[in-house]
Symmetry: C2
C-alpha cells in the first residue's frame, strides 16, 4: 500500500478539473431525501447542501480508492505503526470494540484484553463509588467528581459530561456532579475548588505521561488544599485516583486511592473513550451510560469500514471536506450544534481536528504543497445566529458549515408559545439557516442581498442520548483520520506543541542567553 | 470628509508595495521595550512581534490620515448618522462618558443625560436589591440574578460577569450570583432554572426591540415556571425587570417590577456598557464595580482620539490588522487570553468583530473588492496550547494572534511548586509562545521544525480588575470601529441575520410553497 501526497493522486487532479456545481441548481427536495447516510447511534449525515454532484461524488469515490482510505483504516485497526513519528500503534478504536476481530498483541499483552480490563476496573470502581461502598475519608459518600487534566484529558471528557447532563436528569439517573480543572492559571483551580465540598469530592488526576506541567501543578494546588483541611480525620489519599500509563511516575504514586491505565497507543485527543473519559463519566452518570456511549462509537467505527462512500458518512464527510479545502480553497470550518448540550463539543473538535491535521509536513517529514487542516470554530445555534452568522452570510470569505441537530430536546421541559414549542423553534431556525446559506436571496438593496452558495452538512438524530453522542464523537474522529490519510499526514503526533514547552522552561530558569525571551518575560512576570 | 474604499487609498497602494519585513530580523529586546502603547485601565498594547517596521508604521500613519480615522471617530462621537443603513447615530461611547464634551440632542432629549439617568436608576435599584430593601415576593432577599437575552444581550454581559467573579471574591464583595439564559433550545432554560431558587431570583429580561424570538420564548418558559410555583404568596411580577427601548412592547409591560431603557443608538454588540450590562453587573457585583468598568472604558475611548498612531493602541491594532488581512492575506485571527477569567471573552469578540465587519458591501451598498472582517476564534491559554496551537505553529496557514495577560492572578490562591507559582508558570508559557511563534526553530527533522514568522500582539496589565476589563472591552470595540472605517463599511448594522429569521418564520407556518425548506424541516421537526 502506497502513501502518496494528495497532489500526486490522479483522482485529485481530475477533481480539480471538474466543473464546479452551483448549489442553487443542485438543491431540491428530492436531493435532500436521497443525500443521506446512516451513521451509528441512530444518526444520519446529510450532504444535500454540499456543492458536490454525482460526477464529483464518483471522483471522490475514486480518490478514496486511490488513496487507499479503507486499507489504511484497516491497517490502523490491525495494529500497524500508523503514528510513525513516535513509532506507535493507534488503538483508540479498540477501547470501544474490535472492528476487525483481529488480535493485537503488543508489549507482551493482548491490547483488547488490556482495554477491557481497565474498563472492567472502571465499572467496578464507579459502581462502588455510586453505591457508597467507597466513601471519602470522613465516611461521607462522594457527591462530586473533579477531573484534573488538560488538552485531551480535559476537552473531550468535559464536552461529553456537559452533553450528558440533561439526558441523565431527564432519565432520573443520580448524578455525581462532574467538575474540571485544567488551566495552569491559579484562578481556574480557585474557582472550581470554591464550589467543592472536599469531604465529598473525588479527584481524578489524568496525565498519560505523568509529567504534564499544568496537571501536576494543579494536583499540587489541590493536595495543598486537601492537606490543609481542618476537618478531623481527613485523609487526602482517599480522595484522588489517577488515570495514567503504567510506566509513568504517577503509576507508582502511593498517595492515590487507585489507578486506571491507558497506554501510548491512545492519543490524548482520541482518549475520550479510554479510561480518560470512562472514569469520570461512569462515576458521574453511571457505567451503563458510558457503555452506551461506547456502543454508539463502535457502531460508527464499523460503518466507517465501508468502501462505498455513499454508505460511509465519516469518509464522505472527509472527502467533501478535502474538496472544500483543496479544490475550492476555503480555509476554515464552523461547527454549529443546535443543541445547548453540545456547547463545548466544538472546542473538543477544534483540538481533535487542528491538532491532528494542522501539519505542514507529510508522514515522511517532507513539506506538502497544499493546505491541510482548516481552522475549526463554533458555538451552539441559535446563539451563533445572533453573533458571528452575519459574516457567514455576508462576509467576503466562504466558511463551510457543519450543522448538528436533534428532533427532541433532552429534558422535554418545553411549552407551546406563539403556536410552537421551543424545540420546534430551534429546528425551524436550523432548517432555515441551511437553506438561507445555500440559496441566499436577491434584493434590490445590495446590503440586503445574500449570495448563498455557502455549503453545509447536517448530522441529525432523534435525541442526544449517550449512544448518539458516542457515534457523533467517533464520526468526527474517523473523519479527521480519513482526512489525514488524504493529506498523507501523521494525524497522531503533535510536535508543534514542543517548542513552547522548551521555551517556557527556559523562562522559568531565568531566560539566560535569550534577550528576546527575557524581554517578554520581564513584561509579564513579577519581580519577587 | 470623504468615505472611500480601502483600495482606492494611495497609502494602501504604497503599503502593498513596501518590502515585507521579516520578524526574525525585526524582533529584539530593544524593540520589545519600545513598541508599546499605553491603553486605558493601566493596560499596554505591545506590537513588537507584528511584522511592521518603521517604514510600514509611517505608511500606516498616512493611511489613518488619508482614511480620516480620527475625523470619523469624532463625527461618530459628535452624533452624526454613522449607521447609515438604519439611519441611526452610534452612541455607545456616551454610556461611559463624553469624549468630546459636545452635547448630543436627538429625539428631543440630551442623550448624555438620558444614559446618565438610566445609570442612576440602575445605581439606585441595584443598591436596594443588594441591601435587601427590594425583596422577592415572599419577603426573601435576592441571592441570584438571571439575565434572559441573546447575542449582544448575552455574550458581552456574560463574558464580563465571568471575568469579574474572581476579582469580586478576592475583594470580599458580596456576590448575587449571575446566571444567563439565551438559547431557544429548551435545554438551556431547563439547565439554568434547575439551579435557581425562584424565591430568591431576580430575572432581567433584555431585548432592545422587545420582539426577539428567543428571548420572548425564554421569558414565557420562565414565567410559566414562576406562575406554577407552589410557594404561598409567590408573585411572578416581583421577580422580573426589563431592559428595553422606550418604544418597545416590553416597555409598557405591567408584569415587570420596573424597566431600564436603552435606545436605537446602542447596537447590541456594543451594549455591554449600557443598561444591558449595567443592571446585571451592578446587582451581581455592586454598582461601584460597574462604575470602575465604565471608567476604564472611557479612558480608552479618550486615548482612541489621538492622531499619532504610536499613542493610539486601538488605531494601531486596527491598522496592523488590516495590514495582516489585506496585504499579507491572512483570513482569521485568534484571541488568546492567558487568564481563565476571560474564558468567554473570545466569544464576545467573535460577535463584536464578525457581526460588525463581516460585510461584503461598503457603506454605500457597493460590493467591495477586498477581504473585510476575518474569522475570530479563541480559548484561554494555557488550555489552547494543548489543543489547537499545533496548527498555529505548524499548520499550512498563518493565523495572526492576539495575546492578553496579567502579572497577577485575581484570587492569589497560588503556591510555589517546582520552584515557581502557577501564575509565573502561566506567564512563562505566554512569553514562550510569543517568541516561539515569531522566531520558530530550525531542526534537522522537518517534523520538529518551526518556521516562525507567526505575528502576534500582546495586551498586558497588572491585574484583571474592573477598570482594566472596561479598557479591554473598549479597546476591541474601537479597533473594530477603526477597521470598519478602513474597509469603508457600516459596522453598526447586521442585515445578514435577517434572511434566517424570515425563513424560520416560514417553517413555523408550514413552509408552504418552499419544497426545499420543507424537506429540511421534515428531517428535523417532529410530527405531532
Amino acid at each position: 500500500m502506497k502513501y502518496e501526497n494528495l497532489d500526486s493522486l490522479k483522482a485529485f487532479k481530475e477533481l480539480k478539473e471538474e466543473k464546479k456545481p452551483c448549489l442553487k441548481e443542485l438543491l431540491s427536495a428530492k436531493r435532500i431525501k436521497e443525500s443521506s447516510i446512516k451513521l451509528g447511534g441512530g444518526l444520519k449525515y446529510v450532504y444535500a447542501a454540499e456543492p458536490v454532484d454525482e460526477r464529483i461524488i464518483d471522483t471522490l469515490q475514486k480518490l478514496s480508492e486511490e488513496a487507499h482510505l479503507i486499507e489504511k483504516y484497516r491497517a490502523l485497526l490491525g495494529g500497524e505503526v500508523m503514528n510513525t513519528g513516535e513509532n506507535r500503534l493507534v488503538l483508540h478504536h479498540l477501547t470501544r470494540g474490535n472492528v476487525l476481530s483481529s488480535k493485537i498483541e503488543k508489549d507482551g499483552e493482548d491490547k483488547e484484553e488490556f482495554y477491557k480490563g481497565e474498563l472492567s476496573k472502571t465499572k467496578d470502581f464507579s459502581e462502588k463509588v455510586r453505591s457508597g461502598e467507597i466513601k471519602g475519608s470522613t465516611g461521607k459518600c462522594f457527591k462530586s467528581v473533579c477531573q484534573i487534566g488538560i488538552g485531551g484529558s480535559d476537552l473531550g471528557p468535559r464536552a461529553l459530561s456537559i452533553a450528558l447532563k440533561g439526558w441523565a436528569e431527564a432519565n432520573k439517573i443520580e448524578i455525581i456532579k462532574p467538575y474540571f480543572i485544567s488551566n495552569v492559571d491559579p484562578d481556574d483551580a480557585a474557582k472550581v475548588l470554591e464550589e467543592l465540598d472536599l469531604e465529598t469530592t473525588l479527584f481524578v488526576l489524568v496525565s498519560k505521561s505523568g509529567t504534564t506541567q499544568e496537571t501536576l501543578t494543579n494536583r499540587d494546588l489541590v493536595l495543598d488544599k486537601l492537606k490543609k483541611s481542618p476537618i478531623k480525620g481527613f485523609d487526602a489519599s482517599k480522595h484522588m485516583v489517577a488515570v495514567t500509563s503504567k510506566t509513568s511516575p504517577l503509576a507508582k504514586d502511593s498517595s492515590m486511592l487507585t489507578s486506571f491505565f491507558i497506554d501510548d497507543y491512545i492519543g490524548g485527543r482520541y482518549s475520550s473513550t479510554s479510561a480518560v473519559g470512562a472514569v469520570i463519566i461512569s462515576i458521574a452518570y453511571g457505567f451503563d451510560t458510558f457503555k452506551s456511549l461506547l456502543e454508539g462509537a463502535h457502531e460508527e467505527d464499523v460503518l466507517s469500514n465501508e468502501k462505498d462512500i455513499k454508505k460511509n458518512g465519516a469518509m464522505m464527510d472527509a472527502l467533501i471536506g478535502v474538496y472544500l479545502r483543496n479544490v475550492l480553497g476555503y480555509p476554515s470550518t464552523a461547527i454549529l450544534p443546535y443543541s445547548e448540550a453540545l456547547s463545548r463539543f466544538p472546542a473538543h473538535l477544534q483540538q481533535l481536528d487542528m491538532e491532528s491535521n494542522g501539519k505542514h509536513v507529510n508522514r515522511f517529514g517532507e513539506k506538502v504543497e497544499y493546505p491541510t487542516g482548516p481552522v475549526i470554530f463554533g458555538e451552539p445555534g441559535t446563539n451563533g445566529q445572533h453573533s458571528f452568522y452575519q459574516l457567514l452570510h455576508q462576509g467576503t470569505d466562504i466558511i463551510p458549515l457543519q450543522f448538528i441537530g436533534f428532533k427532541k430536546s433532552q429534558q422535554k421541559k418545553d411549552i407551546v408559545t406563539s403556536g410552537s414549542t421551543s424545540q420546534k423553534k430551534l429546528n425551524a431556525n436550523l432548517s432555515a439557516q441551511i437553506v438561507a446559506f445555500a440559496l441566499g436571496k436577491d434584493d434590490e438593496n445590495p446590503n440586503k442581498e445574500f449570495d448563498g452558495e455557502r455549503p453545509s452538512s447536517l448530522i441529525y438524530g432523534e435525541e442526544l442520548d449517550p449512544k448518539a453522542l458516542g457515534a457523533l464523537l467517533s464520526h468526527f474522529e474517523n473523519k479527521v483520520m480519513f482526512q489525514g490519510f488524504l493529506w498523507n499526514l501523521n494525524s497522531f503526533d503533535q510536535e508543534g506543541v514542543q517548542l513552547g514547552k522548551v521555551l517556557a522552561k527556559k523562562v522559568l530558569s531565568g531566560s539566560e542567553g535569550d534577550e528576546v525571551l527575557k524581554a517578554f518575560a520581564d513584561l509579564l512576570i513579577e519581580e519577587k
